[in-house]
């Protein structure tokens, strides 16, 4: 009796967990489009795009095209810079939301660790809010421009302003992947001056190339 109960319980548990797994799979399956939400109407430019920019449905959300309203994006990039003077590694996760068609607002927190040959390593933290605009060039390729602004913090120089406009290409790959290639200009400034800091330069301007990957749905 006890053994049968145990088997039954195991079976029930297995069925329940199997159902939960099935529900999760159905809910997250790209192919399972249960369009409870009304799909947005398409503009003339959208109608010409074909299927190249369609994103899969996730969790019952309607199928949308990339850069349509309410499309969400989660991704990030990592960086590694090695020069004669310093070595730098960094990571920037990103979360984006298309608030209106073609316009995305993203949050870009960033952590960088810089080690110079003459000084101990230092961490730099920044948080940017970036409005960006995206429009189709051809096929699955979008051109975008974003203007990130926010704050940067370093232990040595304190809190300061960070400005990071960037422009580049986004290529839709696979079902919902977005490969991002961009060129960026980053300006940071802190309130402390070079005189106060001795050798620390409070203003930095850098140009760079950036590659990242994100998932959109």
């Amino acid at each position: 009796m006890g053994a049968r109960a145990t088997v039954s319980q195991r079976h029930r548990t297995r069925v329940r967990s199997g159902s939960l797994f099935a529900c999760a799979v159905i809910a997250l399956s790209p192919g399972a489009a249960r369009a409870e939400e009304k799909a947005p109407s398409e503009s003339p430019a959208r109608k010409e795009e074909g299927g190249a920019t369609e994103l899969p449905s996730v969790a019952g959300r309607p199928i949308r095209r990339f850069a349509q309203r309410n499309v969400l994006e989660l991704g990030g990039s990592v960086s590694y810079v090695k020069s004669n003077a310093f070595t730098q590694i960094g990571a920037t996760p990103t979360f984006g939301w298309f608030v209106i068609e073609y316009m995305q607002v993203s949050i870009l927190p960033s952590v960088e660790y810089v080690k110079t040959f003459s000084a101990p390593g230092e961490a730099r933290y920044s948080l940017l809010l970036e409005p960006s605009f995206h429009f189709l060039l051809a096929g699955p390729v979008f051109l975008f421009f974003g203007a990130g602004t926010g704050a940067v913090y370093e232990k040595e120089t304190g809190m300061g302003l960070a400005v990071a406009p960037r422009t580049g290409l986004e290529v839709l790959v696979g079902g919902s992947g977005v490969l991002k290639l961009a060129t960026t200009f980053v300006y940071t400034a802190t309130r402390r001056t070079a005189i106060e800091d001795g050798t620390n330069e409070p203003h930095t301007s850098t140009f760079g190339l950036q590659a990242g990957y994100a998932v959109a749905w």
Binding site: S43, I100, E101, F133, F135, F145, T149, P165, A189, R191
Partner: protein, 294 residues
């Protein structure tokens, strides 16, 4: 980062500022400023900084003059109503409301971002008092100057917007405007140049001027310039894709707006003697310096 250029380049800048001032739309308002620039030989012993010419009255005059031009171009003047096809020769393109909305938002976000960054940059440079508003005031004046030119020129040619052009009948209609009245007819004929693209180009031009013209360069103005430039080019593309303009319209607005913005920054140049304290710079009756390096 502050970078000081050699004195010789100041002399060239003085000449550039004069040419720029003479060529500007606000030429009349700038004439008192020219008297403050001084001779080239004198400039060799001076430091130059971008700041507001005169007091707030100068700004008020600049804004009033350009505001009047803007209002005249927008509300008083009417465009020629011929059937002139879009200038790029590509004919009709449908109106795309989504792209148009994105362009509207880009203009607002771009102007707000540029002015805010200029202000934040001034704060970071430890400016005092009214000098904290040099950046945002000059960049916004550049945007206004860029906008004025396009709104005046729009009425000269009466070029039809791509969204309103009928390829078959070769006529300029109002089908892309969403309404059919006198205002729609005017709007359909105001394609050249683009009014959305010019303000951001003007802001970018002004920021480039703020970065290049003074003897001390502040890289935050380069950041403002690049940001505004990016927004401006974004709007250029969005307006063309949205059927509102041809590439010729947006390109012309980008160039003219950028030049107007740069000239606006040039109008605010003045020479300060580095050998003496700022207060020793004798103000003329028509130019009250507010002091402080930019």
């Amino acid at each position: 980062m502050v970078k000081r250029r050699p004195v010789a380049s100041h002399v060239a800048l003085v000449g550039l500022a004069r040419l720029a001032s003479l060529a500007s739309l606000a030429c009349a308002a700038s004439l008192p400023a020219l008297t403050s620039v001084g001779s080239a030989s004198a400039a060799e012993h001076r430091d130059m900084s971008v700041t507001m010419l005169g007091s707030g009255w100068y700004d008020l005059g600049f804004v009033a003059l350009n505001g009047a031009g803007f209002a005249a171009g927008r509300y008083l003047l009417h465009p020629a109503r011929g059937d002139r096809a879009p200038l790029d020769g590509l004919g009709h393109r449908p109106r795309d409301a989504a792209l148009g909305r994105a362009a509207d938002v880009a203009v607002i976000v771009g102007l707000a971002t540029g002015a805010s960054l200029a202000f934040a940059g001034d704060l970071g440079e430890r400016t005092q008092g009214a000098d904290r508003f040099r950046g945002p005031v000059i960049t916004l004046e550049g945007a206004l100057a860029g906008s004025v030119i396009t709104h005046l020129v729009k009425n000269l040619f009466g070029i039809c917007r791509p969204r309103d052009w009928d390829d078959v009948a070769r006529k300029c209609t109002t089908r892309g405007e969403g309404h059919d009245d006198e205002a729609a007819v005017d709007e359909a004929h105001r394609s050249f140049p683009s009014g959305h693209s010019a303000p951001l180009a003007g802001m970018a031009g002004a920021a480039v001027g703020l970065w290049l013209l003074p003897s001390e360069r502040h890289d935050v103005n380069l950041a403002v310039a690049l940001t505004s430039l990016g927004f401006s080019l974004t709007v250029v593309a969005l307006r063309e894709r949205g059927g509102a303009h041809s590439w010729v319209d947006t390109g012309a607005a980008f160039i003219s707006g950028g030049l107007a913005g740069f000239l606006t920054a040039a109008l605010h140049l003045r020479v300060r003697n580095v050998q003496e304290p700022a207060a020793a710079t004798a103000p003329t009756p028509l130019m009250f310096t507010m002091g402080g390096a930019f």
